[in-house]
């Protein structure tokens, strides 16, 4: 859904400089509405593990790799509970993490982590994936669906 508003004033006012100090930041965090507060909690303190017992063996292996590599820098709850779900989003996200100094994620490992996260999202975040795809352009929907299908074709038991 797009919200369109007309503004007639010139100044949008400090939108890039979203500046708050540490003290002020905490004060604002305490004033967050319940929904936002829950979202913040979920991102940083939500579940940090996933039940992969029903995933294909290769994907289970990639989950181990994901757990090992990604937990070097941040909690696993962060990617697990994030709102990234589509192949394109994960691809960009993982590349960014690979380039972090000392990440030690090779291109081959990055691909495995990508495949795990896309596969996992297609199951665990299915509702979110479906929602995003429903509102995407038909050809973009097809592109994303084919990438997801490709992974399932590759790893699901025949």
């Amino acid at each position: 859904m797009k919200i369109t508003r007309q503004i007639t004033t010139i100044l949008l006012g400090g939108v890039i400089l979203g500046a708050t100090g540490a003290g002020l930041g905490r004060a604002i965090a305490q004033e967050l509405d319940a929904e936002t507060k829950a979202r913040v909690e979920r991102f940083e303190k939500g579940p940090a593990t996933i039940d992969v017992s029903k995933y294909p063996d290769a994907i289970k292996e990639y989950y181990e790799l994901f757990s090992h590599k990604c937990s070097q820098c941040h909690k696993l709850s962060r990617p697990i509970n994030s709102d990234y779900a589509l192949p394109d989003e994960w691809s960009r996200y993982i590349k960014r993490m690979m380039y972090k100094p000392g990440s030690n994620i090779s291109a081959a490992d990055g691909k495995k982590v990508y495949e795990f996260l896309v596969y996992d999202s297609s199951i665990r975040k299915k509702a979110m994936v479906d929602d995003k795809l429903t509102k995407a352009k038909p050809e973009d929907k097809t592109t994303n669906e084919s990438k997801i299908k490709e992974l399932h074709d590759k790893y699901d038991a025949k």
Binding site: L12, G13, V40, F43, K132
Partner: protein
């Protein structure tokens, strides 16, 4: 010394400035807007976006030097979006060259009843029907003036018609663009030359209250070296003019073109076509071609007894034009490949066609025997520009080389013919041989006379001439009516649902592909070389656009300083910094006072800053933000 960051607090102007293609276009065409419309298959919308600010949209779709592409943000990542070729794509569907063209659909978008009342039918004379003059007339007509265009030639279009080769710009498109402008109420009088058919002072007597001079620069500059007078030395503009008027020019078997700009490339590529045309002809066809050239020459000389000597000489040569075989065409220019002012795709196409480019050479003298060119002596240049980037070529003595050839074409610049000016006209001329013109207002030394295009500032690209014509129209309106109301604008902000926002999958991996071109063996005569993109290719190229209209907007009140946005940004354009490290203007100080009530000390407050040059509008930061403090928003200025 701690690192500091120069920052700017964004306002509407800041956001509109981020659309770099629009900023790069002299008429502020919203190139990104029509590129995005192509991606969304809204082709007619795309055409209208391209057409509103530019009465020569279809022409620019083919031959614009595309300053928008030079600015395109995508260029910093890999290669700019093919903006010009995409403009051509939509113009082919809805522009003047298409069957679907309907002025009735475009005109309502151009019309503004508030502007139409400004002119009150007052008469304005426009001298020259080139892009500057016709654009000025177009704007004046939309403001309710009665513009009359006086054109010396028997056709309108100026250098578009006379200087741009037909293989780049089909003539029917120029005619159609001119016709669309005439349909707005512009009168064009052909074969009416200033200084011959009327004097400048006559215009006032005929009731014209202001004048715009857009007569172009149709003379080639001279080169002061030995041998320039030899038979076989041609001037570029005269050469192109003759070719484009349909006359034949004798060239011989080996041609050397001196110069490196677009004009030089046009000459070199036209030479190849002339040669090919004649090479395939039998004796009877050659006789017929000569006969036609002679007839055309008779007509032109009868109509233009005052034609400059260079034109007459070139036309005389055309009468005798018989050539056999394909000549070798060599281009010598002072600049290195990096410095060469010609467009790079032109260089590539010229080289494909067999033109051999030699860089860092300057002409020393032209050699001849019995009054005819036999060769040219060139000297190697060690540099072209000095440390202050001023044109100051240095040559390597002893590096002279002689190249044998039959023809030398000098493409070293153009100048305006201002011989018609009389003292009583009170028009001042600059030492460069241009009309003294104020770049901000297009005003000349006479209050009721304005100028633009090549005659005002020397040779320039088409879209700059269009912009100057439009600017002059606004100045003329102001001069005649006292003031012109500013076009009211308001900002429109579209906020995207973060979880639905997304760019095209893999868009950053799409590579720039040029539009297809005619196979080399079919590049004969006037056949247009560049073709249009097939539709799927056009949409894929349009999907490369980074959508600079859209960007992440940060709400400081909702930010909890988690740094997640900076953490995930794939292009490293976000950074969480100490407020004390920011450097800004009075607006920044005012923002401090508004937010904190004082200027914060080091270590007290934090800020997110963004490097706009890198942002690819992927939206990862917004998706990552746990509090929804970041939203992807599209900011546009639209008519109020």
């Amino acid at each position: 010394m701690p690192t500091t960051y120069p920052v700017e607090l964004p306002d509407v102007n800041y956001f509109t400035r981020q659309v770099l293609c629009r900023e790069g276009c002299p008429v502020r065409t919203d190139s990104g807007g029509y590129v995005q419309a192509v991606a969304e298959e809204r082709y007619e919308d795309a055409y209208i976006i391209a057409r509103i600010p530019n009465p020569f949209a279809s022409i620019c779709g083919r031959v614009c030097a595309a300053p928008c592409e030079a600015k395109c943000r995508r260029g910093a990542l890999d290669a700019p979006v093919s903006i010009r070729a995409l403009k051509r794509f939509v113009c082919e569907k809805f522009g003047v060259e298409s069957d679907a063209f309907d002025l009735g659909r475009v005109y309502p978008q151009l019309r503004d009843p508030r502007r139409e009342r400004i002119g009150g039918g007052r008469k304005v004379a426009i001298i020259g029907a080139g892009p500057a003059g016709m654009s000025c007339a177009h704007e004046l007509a939309l403001m309710g003036f009665a513009p009359t265009v006086f054109e010396a030639q028997n056709l309108a279009g100026g250098m578009l018609m006379l200087g741009v080769p037909e293989y780049r710009l089909p003539r029917e498109i120029i005619r159609a663009e001119i016709a669309a402008i005439e349909a707005l109420g512009v009168e064009v009088r052909l074969n009416t030359r200033l200084g011959k058919d009327f004097a400048f002072s006559d215009l006032k007597k005929q009731g014209y209250e202001a004048v715009f001079l857009g007569i172009g620069a149709h003379k080639s500059r001279e080169l002061s070296i030995e041998g320039v007078q030899l038979d076989g030395v041609l001037r570029a503009i005269e050469f192109l003019l003759n070719v484009n008027l349909g006359f034949r020019v004798t060239l011989g078997r080996k041609v050397v073109v001196i110069g490196g700009g677009n004009v030089a490339f046009d000459v070199a590529r036209s030479v190849v076509r002339q040669a090919e045309k004649f090479a395939g002809m039998g004796e009877a066809e050659l006789r017929e071609a000569l006969h036609q050239a002679a007839s055309a020459l008779e007509q032109l000389t009868a109509r233009q007894p005052e034609a400059p000597d260079e034109v007459r000489l070139a036309l005389d040569v055309a009468r005798e034009a018989i050539r056999k075989g394909v000549p070798e065409v060599h281009m010598y220019c002072l600049e290195s490949l990096d410095e060469i002012p010609g467009a790079h795709d032109e260089i590539e196409e010229a080289e494909k066609e067999g033109i051999r480019l030699h860089t860092r050479f300057g002409p020393r003298r032209i050699l001849g025997s019995d009054g005819k060119v036999t060769g040219i002596e060139l000297v190697k240049a060690s540099r072209v520009f000095d440390e202050n980037r001023r044109f100051n070529p240095q040559f390597i003595e002893g590096s002279e080389e002689t190249v044998h050839c039959d023809t030398v074409v000098l493409a070293i610049g153009q100048s305006a013919d201002l011989s018609w000016i009389r003292p009583e006209d009170k028009l001042k001329v600059t030492p460069r041989g241009t009309l003294q013109t104020d770049a901000a207002t297009m005003a000349t030394s006479r209050p009721d006379v304005f100028a633009g295009g090549d005659v005002a500032f020397g040779p320039r690209i088409i879209i700059t001439a269009v912009a100057e014509g439009k600017k002059a129209a606004a100045s003329i309106a102001k001069f005649l009516t006292g003031s012109v109301p500013a076009e009211p604008r308001q900002a429109r902000v579209t906020i995207y649902d973060t979880l639905q926002y997304g760019m095209k999958p893999d868009y950053e991996k799409f590579i720039r592909r040029p539009p297809p071109t005619l196979p080399l063996d079919r590049r004969i005569g006037i056949a247009e070389v560049e073709r249009d993109y097939p539709e799927p290719d056009a949409r894929r190229q349009a999907d490369r656009c980074l959508k600079c209209h859209v960007g992440p907007v940060f709400n400081g009140d909702a930010c909890i300083l988690c740094g997640g946005c900076a953490d995930v940004c794939p292009e490293y354009c976000l950074r969480l910094v100490d407020v004390a490290s920011l450097r800004g203007d009075a607006k920044l100080q005012a923002a401090y006072l508004a937010r904190y009530g004082r200027v914060p000390e080091r270590g007290e407050e934090g800020a997110i800053i963004k490097d706009e040059t890198r942002c690819i509008r992927c939206g990862l930061c917004a998706i990552r933000c746990p509090t929804g403090a970041i939203t992807m928003e599209r900011v546009e200025l639209i008519p109020a």
